[in-house]
């Protein structure tokens, strides 16, 4: 399938996701059996993407101290917890990784 077609399909699908409840619902609100699982999508998906990049940067699980990305990632998690901003998380994580790479 051509990359253009894939991008367009993802674009339409994303738009329809954004439209979903705004398009069909009035003031009534969303039933809780839909809303509650929806709230869990973000943590599940984001962890599924982020955690392997820390734990297995070269596609092999590596819990040793030589895994600098895991160490820098832990620093980033601590900063993200305190600062709650993507900007400072990136700065803290990259700074930690560069210092670790320079040291070891």
């Amino acid at each position: 399938m051509s990359p253009w077609l894939i991008v367009i399909i993802v674009g339409i699908g994303t738009y329809l996701t954004r439209l979903s409840f705004i398009g069909i619902l009035g003031k009534a609100g969303v039933p809780s059996y839909i809303e509650r699982p929806l709230k869990l999508v973000a943590p599940a998906v984001l962890a599924a993407i982020a955690i392997p990049q820390l734990v297995a940067p070269a596609d092999v699980v590596d819990f040793s101290l030589g895994n600098l990305r895991l160490l820098a990632g832990l620093v980033a998690i601590a900063v993200a917890w305190k600062a709650r901003s993507i900007g400072s998380t990136i700065v803290a994580g990259m700074t930690a990784l560069w210092i670790l790479q320079w040291l070891f």
Binding site: I6, G13, T14
Partner: protein, 236 residues
Amino acid sequence: MPSEEERVALAKDRFVEGVKAVSPILFGVAPFGLIVGVTIAAGDVDNWVGWSTSWLVFAGAAQIALIELLNSEALAVVAIATPLVINLRHAMYSAAMAPPFSQLSSLDRLWLPYLLTDQAFAISASRYEPDSDPTTVKYFYLGTGVTLWVAWQIVTMVGIVVGAQLPAAWSLDFTIALVFLGLLVPAVASRPALVAAVVGGVVAVLSLELPNGTGIIAASVAGVAAGSIADWRLSR
């Protein structure tokens, strides 16, 4: 009933208010957009196809995942499903915005959701009050949404231009993991959310052997299922 001039003046005020409210957030959005551009420039996918995701998809995390899947020539169904799963959270925003938006015209309700991003949602939802008038609802949201849209098109383009010249020794690809961590940590706002994140992360690591990208989908489903069970048990 306010006159036409009064409504136009209010609309302008609310739009400017939205632009001002979103401005500080641009400092966090800009690096993220640059990284999306750098990711596009670093891969084999045509830069125009890559950049078009900025206005066709307009959601950074999903754009990065999509670009990486296109670069690794993953199965088309995986390249389509993974970013859509990542973007499922927008349904949650749509649900939260549906009550205030119910006052707007059908046309507005059709096109305004195109601008519904993490940041536009976070800022607008915190600004709205139960009795917000339709002009405030529409134009404050437009002020945030349009600002973010214009900034996003520019910074992702800059990222593509600059990105081609960055050395690999800088390990800038690590910023992708950091973006997702920066989104993940605030999303873990309850115990069921923590369960969903832990199970999602563990299953993703265990399914690294699965064909490219399918592990993320399996992990997401497992995470939401486990989190829902935790939610159900905790709320009994």
